[in-house]
Amino acid sequence: MTLSLVVILHITGCSRGPVAPELRDSPVYHNSQEGIRFLVPDNWTQSASANLPVGDLETELFLVRYNVLSPDSTSQVQVLCYQDRSGSGDLAKHHQQPAFGISRWTLKEGPKQETISGQEGTWLYLTGKGQGREMGKEVLCFRKGDRVYSFVGIFGATDNKVRQSMHRAFQSVIWE
């Protein structure tokens, strides 16, 4: 009886609090809890990973971060998640807020709706000046219930090669 209860609790996850995931440099990012997978280019190195808490999110949290090896050492990718209880919040406005050391991001392209693996997403491209240089921010957002998942790439604004590799990786997103 006791053994059965332990097994059930383990299977349902009821016996566990937060558990730090392992950092993995695998060719596919897979998060079974959120139901996301996408292809990871060879020159991306995972620097952080998280399991989101269940229930309400108090703030925007990241799911995973990658450092991108490129001539521009500041290139990075993050997958972020926040809760939008209205279900219709302005995605462009959200991503224009201060982030990644840049006080204001300016929308340059989009928002543009696109269907990726059967799921409707919203593309944005923004730029901003930080530490004396122009940075680009490629963003792809998906709404799932009242959560908004944002795939965000940061790079030197002139580095089109890195931007394209981020774009391709974001287009490989599959929702399970």
Binding site: G17, P18, V19, A20, P21, E22, L23, Q46, S47, A48, S49, A50, N51, L52, P53, L61, F62
Partner: protein, 154 residues
């Protein structure tokens, strides 16, 4: 490469500065090339902790840390939501930021304890005291600094 013994205790960098990238500047007792003297503890040695807990079950780092050419990672399975890779200074230094003790969002540069509800610290007067995980964050920041004129009154 040889295996190295891990540490469960870490020096305090204070509450100000960029530990990962600029480990030379802080308001705590330890930083790169620090030479803090007892006279420097203007907040009082009883009101300043210098070493705190950070066990290997949370983040594995060698007991003799280095300031460059290395990283520290959250130990897989640690009781936090986030795994993060941080730079070499985090091997030997921790700091107090905006989150409290034993937060489920703690990162390797945070103090952390396997004990429930308490984190143990060595203070500059030689005493070891446990601080509640619910301690006010401003008080915790005050206890981590050496001379900001914010001596706490217990």
């Amino acid at each position: 490469m040889r295996p190295a013994a891990t540490t469960s205790y870490i020096a305090s960098f204070g509450s100000f500065g960029l530990l990962n990238t600029v480990p030379d500047i802080s308001n705590g007792p330890f930083y790169r090339n620090s030479s803090t003297r007892m006279d420097d503890f203007r907040d009082g040695t009883t009101h300043t902790f210098i070493v705190g807990e950070r066990p290997a079950m949370f983040a594995k780092a060698p007991w003799a840390g280095v300031m460059q050419s290395g990283t520290v990672r959250t130990t897989p399975g640690a009781p936090v939501y986030v795994s993060i890779l941080q730079l070499a200074p985090t091997m030997s230094l921790s700091r107090v930021n905006k989150i409290g003790l034993n937060s489920p969002y703690s990162e390797p540069y945070d103090f952390f304890s396997p004990h429930t509800g308490v984190v143990y610290f060595l203070f500059a007067d030689g005493s070891v005291r446990g601080l509640s995980s619910d301690i006010d964050i401003q008080l915790l920041r005050s206890l981590s600094t050496i001379s900001t004129g914010d001596a706490s009154h217990e």
